[in-house]
Amino acid sequence: MRFSSYNTQGFYDEMFAENGKPRPHAGLLLETVESLSDGHLLRHKQAAERLLLQMGITFNVYGDAAGTERIFPFDLIPRIIPAGEWDHIERGLKQRVHALNCFIDDIYHDRKILKNGVIPSEVVLSAAFYRKQCHGLNPPRKVWCHVTGTDLVRGGDGRYYVLEDNLRVPSGVSYVLENREVLKRIFPAVFEGLSVRPVSEYPSRLLETLESIAPHAMASPRVVLLTPGIYNSAYFEHSFLAQQMGIQLVEGRDLAVDGGDVFMRTTKGLERVDVIYRRIDDDFLDPEAFRPDSLLGVPGLMAAYQQGRVALANAPGNGVADDKVIYSYVPDMIRYYEGADPILPNVPTYLCWRDDDRAYVLEHLAELVVKAANESGGYGMLVGPHSTAVQREEFACKIRAQPRNYIAQPTLALSRVPTIVDDHFEGRHVDLRPYVLCGKEIYVAPGGLTRVAMKKGSLVVNSSQGGGSKDTWVLSQGPAVGGQRQ
């Protein structure tokens, strides 16, 4: 397969410059792909898909027939990020996660940022994921967001923007690790030629982060991963991470609180648990503290957490900063807590509770992307240019009824990467979700998950909406000298 007929169609392309020439960091990969015989790449693609199915690397589709499992669509052409660009992203993410941590801690303590009028109180206290139960809590090391999966996009101007912070229970990192395994088998020579930074240390880093927040100093704290169970769409990832870290994968029914401590039920009786990496939402953690009808949670868990008997990652209540209205204030938070300008900018955001913004949004629905403040996964969203008049009217009603719950952003011309479509390459829009760990220090895993909108022209990359993924290569230095082999 050749790139000769590939057309960037005026979008920012991660592989090709505006003049149609390959970008310097993409040269070696593009040459290698072109040198493969016809059918070679497609055979690899089919083999990779078979392998993923056999390994059971699948996700469950909600609302589909019971037991429907699909592999997460995966494209073989990676996205490559040069060293300099990555350095910029990494610094930006560290700054942002640090500021978000300060913000959440402040909100659950003195609320200085509200008192100083930087962010309106009513916006914060009305956030759907604000949890009054967390007021006054002091999580170990004052860390509230241990694992963050920030969504970045690159606009038509070539700059990276932060689209969402995803502080609660971000998923997808297992695909980063598995995609890399597949690509190393397909392009070994390119890996040798480009010095791609490895991603395999993520599980060890995650375990270190989790051990570092144990409530008491101990040689080997017992860390477990709490999953909603095998019917959860991210169950594969839960079991994969538990296996990679060598920790127990537990369900709510495996845990019990006794005398203020948390235990797991084993064949030999109860065994104490020190740190819980929970992959279930706040609302389901503990029926005594949150939703009383939750069957997934552990009665008494929040009380044990409040008394410092067990550590939870991520910390309950941190979702307050996931609200898309509060997101729009993150640059202000960075200036307030860090005393510096944000390294990574936000996407410009209109807040519908502001009268001026709302009037503008309602008039320009056909151009904007409208999002519900507390939805994720691509739900509750209107992509103006791709919408019908009926859909726009529906959203206009929603916005007028609940202005606090809606924001709007310009429709971004997301950057594209060549993607295999049948027997040729076409550009497809992508975003980037790097993973940031925060314990003793802040660590950004090199790369992250590049999500692809597999449908032609689509801007929605979520797996629940037909999105796929690509491997993401971060180079540890500039492109290899020459980069052009004959």
Partner: protein
């Protein structure tokens, strides 16, 4: 600071799941073998013998469910019921599905190789269940059997022989013991009344089929040579070396149970160990003639009761949620 080694505790839920995973894999393999051997037997018997498919259904203990759904025990009906019927909890399909669901819930406990194998087996059975078999039946049965063997081989060689491993073996050994006795129970009473056939080639063929149902034909020959019903019973129940003989399976289960609890062999620390130990010593010192004289049927009935009690004890001793006061390490830590 020195890190002291702590054996990794096993969640009760996980122990339960791996135990049943072991049982279901073994059950699927047995059902595949029963179908295969019976199909093979039918080809050797003259037409006068009629179709003997009902006994196979009886071996899995699902006679009532079969009659209700299918009625007549034709080959096509029985194969469909035993191989693919989703409403039959003991069909190959249902067993493999259950084994896989259990494996999926403990994927971080078993090895990746084991998970991939049970997943491949599931994909195979799910694919075949959408086809019409007939011609492909022997090949399908063979693939299921080999796939199950491969799983057990991977279990042996890619997973640490830890507590969870012993729960898998406990499950598969008890299941195997159960299946061997069931096939003997059903076949013995069909074959015995046909006194006129004694000594005919067909009698030999039928008894050979019983032995083949437990992959024991060749091993039996090495021990006893000529086929006689008494010796077949002795071999299948009391042999100490053949891996599908009742006594051998019970011994293996007992060894695993002791490895789980840490109690020395010959002693007991819980109900399951006591019951299993009793059965083991009974079989260790049993002789076939007294069993036959006092009635094989009575023996099987009593055995079934003992096996059920052992299964209940295992559940109560290890899987059930116990009151919180039984804390193992108290407030240490």
């Amino acid at each position: 600071m020195t890190t002291t080694y702590r054996p990794r505790p096993l969640l009760s839920r996980v122990a339960d799941a791996v135990y049943w995973m072991g049982r279901y894999i073994e059950r699927a393999e047995n059902v595949a073998r029963f179908i295969d051997v019976n199909q093979n037997l039918m080809l050797d018997l003259p037409h006068g013998f009629g179709e003997q498919w009902q006994p196979i259904v009886d071996t899995t203990g699902d006679r009532a469910a079969f009659l209700e759904r299918y009625g007549e025990a034709t080959q096509a009906n029985v194969v469909q019921f035993l191989a693919f019927e989703t409403h039959n909890p003991n069909s190959i399909y249902s067993c493999v599905l259950a084994a896989r669901e259990n494996a999926r819930s403990v994927r971080e406990t078993i090895s990746s190789e084991m998970w991939e194998q049970v997943n491949s087996l599931y994909l195979l059975v799910a694919l075949e269940s959408r086809k019409t078999l007939a011609e492909g039946l022997p090949q399908f049965c063979r693939e299921v059997r080999m796939s199950c063997h491969l799983f057990q081989g991977l279990q042996h060689s890619t997973m640490s022989h830890n507590e969870a491993w012993h729960f898998i073996r406990l499950g598969s050994s008890l299941e195997r013991a159960d299946k061997t006795t069931r096939i003997l129970d059903v076949k013995y009473f069909i074959l015995l009344p046909s006194v006129s056939d004694v000594g005919t080639p067909y009698d030999d063929i039928q008894w050979a089929a019983v032995l083949k149902s437990v992959s024991g034909f060749e091993m039996y020959r090495k021990c006893f040579g000529r086929i006689s019903p008494e010796r077949v019973v002795e071999f299948m129940l009391l042999d100490g070396e053949f891996p599908r003989a009742l006594r051998y399976c019970i011994g293996l289960a007992d060894n695993s149970l002791h490895a789980i609890t840490g109690t020395r062999l010959g002693a007991f620390s819980c109900g399951a160990e006591q019951r299993l130990g009793l059965l083991r010593s009974e079989l260790d010192y049993a002789q076939v003639d007294p069993i036959l004289q006092s009635g094989l049927h009575e023996f099987f009935d009593a055995l079934q009761q003992k096996m059920n009690t052992i299964d209940e004890c295992v559940r109560g001793d290890f899987f059930a949620q116990r009151p919180l006061t039984l804390s193992a390490d108290g407030l240490a830590g």
